[in-house]
Symmetry: C2
Subunit: 255 residues, 2 copies
Amino acid sequence: MVVRGSSSAHRTLAILTTLGSKEAAERGGLGVVEIARRVGREKSQVSRALKTLDAEGFVERDRESMLYRLSWQVFTMAANAGHPRLLAVAPPVLRRLVGVLGERVHLTVLSHDGVLTVLSQGPARTVQAAGWVGRVTPLHTTSSGRALLFDHGDEEVAELLAGSQFASAGPGAPAGTEEFLARLAEARTAGYALAREEFEAGLVGAAAPVRDFRGQVMAALNVSAPANRMGRDLDAAGRVVLSAARQLSQSMAGC
Amino acid sequence: MVVRGSSSAHRTLAILTTLGSKEAAERGGLGVVEIARRVGREKSQVSRALKTLDAEGFVERDRESMLYRLSWQVFTMAANAGHPRLLAVAPPVLRRLVGVLGERVHLTVLSHDGVLTVLSQGPARTVQAAGWVGRVTPLHTTSSGRALLFDHGDEEVAELLAGSQFASAGPGAPAGTEEFLARLAEARTAGYALAREEFEAGLVGAAAPVRDFRGQVMAALNVSAPANRMGRDLDAAGRVVLSAARQLSQSMAGC
DNA sequence: CAAGGGGGTTGCCGAGCGAGCAACAGGGGT
DNA sequence: ACCCCTGTTGCTCGCTCGGCAACCCCCTTG
């Protein structure tokens, strides 16, 4: 079998990915040369590829600064990505869970080798820590990470963690793959995962897996709060999250 | 100048768009042959292109049904698309507006020749009419549509409306481009746009433009409600929305 | 079991497309 | 005037896909 490089398509997609990065958004867009640098291609190729992307409506260009950025069209696509039904069914469940726990809850999925937050709901009273949605957090320092790996084999998990930086985490973070696997096993028997100051000092969380009609883990429900507010009741919170996750799983199965 | 077709990139992007369509999501994904039919290409090319897209993480495949669908990665991209700052700043404004009006409010942008809803916030009590986000509604039968076209010239507007189906709308919808332009002019002088049963019978709405630091219209704030709840106060609602939109514009300018 | 049909992947070859370079056009700075 | 940086366009050769056909696999039908 001949592996086709499809260099043109690869390059175009690499540009899309680059424009979808956080830094690109923060700068308000990227220029042709800047993108060329990042994807390691000739600026002429990038210039022409961007013209194609523009014609297809994937990117738009600020008339003044000449910078390209992803267009809103990507939003429409996102609404139909992954398991759209999950997005439709989950909000009421999240809201109820917020009502019970009084803390911000998230719906997360496994994306690549990280935890992607796809929905986030907080009590209205708190300061809006908006900006979680679309963000990717590490697998190994979050309760969601463990909940999402419930059904993975140890070797698979080790592979996914290979790229993780075990440094730069909270004080309670697992020291290495072995310790992570131990905590994962513990979480499996409990049915929910707890994380005490693993992601960040002073932050605790609990998570439980959401399963599709076949029983496969497709997402995780997760609550996250300051340790001084939820630290003592974390185990109870875990059970509440588990119950809500089961409920969500049932909603998904009902289709 | 030679226009480069970049047929490979075009095809790849067309596949992405197809997978991002609503029907694709409803079916839970699309197969190779189905996609080939829709984009009008050889199934072999589509098969190979999908392999590339998979390798880049844009799509994923259901192991059992063999169907491809957009991966959650698109979610991450969406968080950085358009004007991400708008997404970060808007939620509190929307929530306040919901508090005042007691009805569902939306943040919309111009996408292609339609109105794309990027944020939606409703009073918790009502039944969640979730699923607005990511949806595209017509330009000519919505208050948002008019608010987004405040600064467009008449010819530009006519061009954008060219593809619109003036049939299949609510009873109050404008009959044609001319009538639309008249209502647009009216909205311009008021500073906000009102729509009475244009999109759908029994549904009214009010919208006002959000402007960036340069004064360019970048989005619209919009409230939508049943006529029997907001019909009489629609003009007042328009003024409230306008005030909120100004506030949002200021937040955007402050950066 | 054979036959048929639909979905999906792979091999193959030549024609057409793009990689890379270079030139050029603008826009600031100094 | 000069340089530096960004971005676009012309051009040519070599390489990559386009299109077809064969093949695999699964399911259904007779």
